[in-house]
């Protein structure tokens, strides 16, 4: 049983505490022993940065001007990323929970306990009684190893990864339409596009460095159409803002395509020769007149017409989307409805003409290619395809009957914990107690486990529920590759050794496999050896890494996959010859009907709650909620409410209010702003426990991608009648640095 009994004590020992100084304090003229070129640990842009090492500590960064993607630019998370490396909250040795307290243990003691418990559970309940939950902020080497570890090491079918909460709708949509899952164009195509459609993408806060390319496009005279329920900084800077009701993306996309058809702006030759399925799609889209789309979405018909004409008439144009359209119970439909526009206008496969999802996590792309997904094997191969299974089993030397069947998505895995099917759990690189929907149910899942192991370098809200916590490494203490959102494979370089007794994650996983008696499949002693195995495993798959080497990545500032041979330079733009990856080399239209969000507002819950991010925090916040600067800028979640709605409810700006959904409730300070729709409220999700927006969100899954509906559920707001509650947010000390520094 792994309940959290002494929360205050755990927080006192393992944080989150705020830390805001380089090792040894702020110093002028420090002697720098070496400068290590690497990349940022956070989002999918994977900006280049140089880490400064002095006395075997990372003491700062220097812009990496010569890396072409970001040319030295970084967001505030990237600037302060190095403060993690020597953070006082770092986990320095293995921990075993005894009587509710974490106690220091040796590696042998901790690993032997893990292995004996896993063996016990598997012999009692079967191999599938262990679940593995991985993540996409790991290097690709580690993500490959996690998939192999679950299948060949533990022999369990249950493995999934946190990209399930991020990129899967886009991946499924891309696979259906194009037969491959990767952004179609490199970022350098953006400045060549006359018109950009940014759907559900708050680029300013979630992909700050992408704005370099967006503004280059603007400087060239380009236009932006931004589709978002909130007036984000990106929406504010755009030319046309379609401020839709959350969950109505299909109506807007079909409405725009309707205009494009009506005005004769489709590319009939491309449709005829390069695609399938147009007639069915056209039939549905013709019902979505601008007026009908306007009625559903709350965007005016004029704006839908303007947007359709602007994109339709432009010679070049790109459509990019992110979690805003993907985090829905019809996320794949949303994605496909935008791909239909791309295909109908033939704007794909040329400079400045293209399409892409803006992948969220640092290795969101690489992490979904090499077999840590429930139904996937290395090289974007499928667990369901007998040929693919045979190929990988031969490659691993694993008897085919030992390769488990496909597993289930992470939300379903947590259901299986509550149902008692999964008894043991190993998680790495994720924090479900913040990032999974309906956290109260997630807590019940974790509390019901017989044995729970967590690997992390900070104690997360989810680590607290573990029986054993093993200290892994931060990105600066290991090497390996990641694949950025544009499909560019880049190399993370090691700057310093891990602190204390912390070990590289691949060592930990190998060691558990070895002690489980499966060592013959895990003779991999360095990231380079793992990479060599993975690129060979991917050979001939869609995500073919065979021709990529560490040296080639260094020489070319990254290599775009597919890269099938040593001589191949990589593939920055897919579909250059208008050939797609389905067997007939054609792309597919999908007729998309509008269904909307699973939960629609009603008399009891009259508002639509949507959740999202702020620029100062990364995902579940386990890294960024410990960095003083970032926390000072945004110390706690808040709820954005339109002034009309606030007035009706008699809520003042800054007042704490209770936000309630069918699953839970939370208390948040109100931020009364005209930048949100009156029928919609917004809470950023990066916090845990009583501050978690995900106490409220709907765990309803997309039927294909199994992504939860984070972006739309029904909610209500209640005024709190208590004199004891502070009026303003307790941690909010202003958005200026002066407060931070006065505190020193």
């Amino acid at each position: 049983m792994s309940k959290v009994q002494h929360l205050e004590q755990i927080i006192e020992l393992y944080g989150p505490h705020l830390h805001d100084e380089p090792y040894g304090g702020w110093q002028a003229g420090r002697v720098i022993d070496r400068v290590v070129p690497t990349h940022c640990p956070y989002c999918g842009i994977q900006c280049g940065m140089n880490l400064l090492v002095s006395d075997e500590h990372v003491v700062g960064f220097e812009p990496r001007y010569d890396f072409p993607v970001n040319e030295g630019k970084l967001c505030p998370k990237g600037v302060t990323a190095y403060l993690q490396t020597h953070h006082p909250d770092r986990l320095l040795y293995p921990l075993i929970k005894r009587n509710g307290n974490f106690e220091r243990a040796s590696w042998d003691e901790a690993l032997d306990l893990v292995v004996s418990k896993f063996k016990e559970i598997q012999s009692k309940y079967g191999k599938d009684a262990i679940g593995v939950y991985s993540g996409s902020s790991l290097t690709t080497e580690k993500t490959y190893l996690m998939g192999k570890f679950a299948r060949a090491g533990l022999g369990t079918r249950y493995i999934d990864y946190n990209g399930r909460l991020c990129m899967v709708s886009a991946a499924a949509g891309n696979n259906k339409a194009f037969g491959i899952d990767r952004a179609a164009n490199p970022w350098t195509d953006i400045p060549m596009a006359e018109v950009l459609i940014l759907a559900g993408a708050n680029c300013a806060e979630t992909f700050p460095i992408l704005n370099k390319f967006l503004w280059q496009q603007r400087d060239n005279g380009g236009r932006w159409i931004v589709i978002d329920p909130r007036e984000t900084p990106t929406a504010r800077q755009g030319d046309l803002h379609l401020q839709l009701k959350p969950g109505t993306d299909v109506a807007v996309a079909n409405g725009m395509l309707n205009v494009i058809i009506r005005e004769g702006l489709i590319d009939e030759e491309f449709i005829r020769n390069r695609t399938n399925g147009w007639d069915d799609t056209r039939a549905i889209v013709e019902r979505f007149t601008p007026e009908i789309s306007a009625q559903i979405s709350g965007v005016s018909a004029e704006k839908i017409i303007q947007a359709g004409l602007l994109y339709g008439r432009a010679k070049t144009g790109m459509i990019m989307h992110a979690r805003g359209i993907e985090h829905h119970s019809h996320g794949v439909d949303n994605v496909l409805s935008y791909i239909n526009i791309v295909l109908a206008t033939g704007k794909i496969g040329d400079p400045g003409r293209g399409y892409g999802t803006i992948t969220g996590q640092g290795n969101g792309q690489g992490g979904r290619e090499h077999g840590q997904k429930a139904d996937q094997l290395p090289g974007q191969r499928s667990m369901l395809d007998p040929e693919h299974r045979k190929y990988i089993c031969e490659f691993w030397g694993l008897p085919e009957d030992e390769l488990p069947q496909a597993g289930v998505s992470v939300v379903e895995m947590f259901d299986k914990m509550r149902e008692g099917e999964i008894k043991g759990f190993l998680s790495i690189c994720n924090n479900g107690m913040v990032s999974l929907p309906d956290t109260n149910n997630i807590r019940r899942s974790l509390e019901g486990l017989e044995f729970n192991v967590n690997i992390d370098f900070f104690m997360s809200e989810s680590s607290r529920y573990a029986d054993v916590v093993l200290p892994g490494t931060s990105w600066a203490e290991d090497e390996g590759v990641t694949t950025s959102a544009e499909g560019r494979v880049v190399k993370i370089n090691k700057a310093v050794d891990p602190p204390g007794e912390a070990k590289q994650d691949w060592w930990i996983i190998n060691e558990i496999a070895r002690r489980m008696g499966r060592g013959k499949y895990f003779q991999l002693n360095t990231p380079r050896e793992i990479f060599d195995e993975l690129r060979n495993a991917s050979k001939g798959g869609k995500a073919d890494y065979f021709g990529i080497t560490y040296e080639k990545i260094d020489k070319q500032d990254g290599v775009f996959w597919p890269c099938p041979t040593q001589e191949h330079p990589g593939t920055p733009r897919l579909f250059d010859n208008k050939e797609f990856y389905h067997p007939d080399k054609k792309a597919k239209f999908h007729p998309i009907e509008y269904f909307g969000a699973d939960e629609k507002p009603d008399d009891d819950f009259p508002l639509i709650l949507t959740s999202g991010r702020v620029v100062y925090q990364y995902l579940s916040g386990n890294q960024t909620r410990r960095i003083g600067f970032l926390v000072q800028q945004c110390p706690e979640p808040y709820v954005e409410i339109h002034p009309e709605t606030a007035q009706k409810l008699k809520i003042n700006d800054g007042e704490r209010v209770k936000v309630i959904s069918r699953r839970g409730e939370g208390v948040f300070p109100a931020l009364v702003v005209r930048t949100i729709r009156p029928d919609t409220i917004f809470i950023p999700y990066h916090w845990g426990e009583e501050l978690a927006a995900n106490q409220l969100t709907n765990p309803k899954l997309d039927p294909t991608s199994k992504i939860p509906e984070f972006k739309a559920c029904a909610a209500k707001i209640e005024k709190i009648h208590s004199r004891e509650l502070p009026i303003l947010g307790k941690g909010r000390k202003g958005a200026s640095l002066s407060e931070v520094q006065r505190g020193k």
Binding site: A28, K73, P76, A204, K212, L671, R732, G734
Partner: protein, 217 residues
């Protein structure tokens, strides 16, 4: 040094990357000399970065009784010289842009010095290096201006005072000068340490203004 800074507020996304990076400059000792403020969060997400404009006739230097604020040969107005600074805060109160701050821990005025330790070695200042959008850019007039659709303006009129600056604001305007209304009159700022909260605007603005009005680190 032919290069200078170009501040393009309409490109600002409010990420405060510049604010965090400014601390990394060796001579700044972990203090940031740059400010990013919401214009009016209740109405818009618009934000504005403020760096030292490096005036050709700097008000801060003119009002300094100890002659502690020097301009170098490149036209960069430096932070107060520590041995000379009297803690009088004249500069803090006089600057029309509200840039210099008083560091009570160090008994010293501090302000943006265009990362002189970096620029003197041919490096780009930290804020301009990291800024994602080019809201803060560093380069020559010839490098930056032709690429933009905004107009470089470096003359500012505050009531009776006209100020020319080394740093350019990039504005969507036909005007040659920026005119700030109401500057001839003393409007009464929020008193130092005042607990009074404003009744209008968002609480985020209120917090920012309260802390910034103290003009202190």
């Amino acid at each position: 040094m032919k290069e200078t800074m170009f501040i393009d507020p309409q490109r600002c996304i409010g990420c405060r990357s510049c604010v965090s990076a400014c601390r990394e400059c060796d001579t700044h000792k972990g203090y940031s000399m740059i400010f990013v403020d919401y214009i009016d969060r209740a109405e818009t997400t618009a934000t504005m970065p403020t760096v030292c404009m490096h005036c050709s006739e700097p008000t801060c230097a003119q009002v300094c009784p100890a002659d502690a604020i020097k301009m170098n040969e490149d036209g960069v107005v430096m932070s107060a010289l520590k041995p000379r600074c009297l803690d009088c805060r004249n500069c803090v109160n006089a600057c029309p842009f509200g840039v210099p701050k008083y560091n009570s821990a160090m008994h010293l005025q501090m302000k943006c010095d265009m990362c002189y330790d970096r620029t003197s070695e041919g490096l780009v200042p930290m804020c301009a290096s990291v800024c994602p959008t080019g809201a803060i850019s560093f380069g020559t007039y010839e490098q930056i201006v032709p690429l933009r659709r905004t107009k470089p303006v470096n003359a500012h009129v505050f009531g009776n005072q006209r100020v020319e600056t080394k740093v350019y604001l990039m504005l969507p305007t036909d005007e040659d000068e920026v005119t700030v209304d109401g500057c001839g009159v003393f409007e009464g700022r929020v008193a130092v340490g005042s607990k009074e909260t404003k009744t209008e605007g968002s609480w985020i603005d209120t917090q920012v203004e309260e802390s910034d009005s103290r003009n202190e680190f």
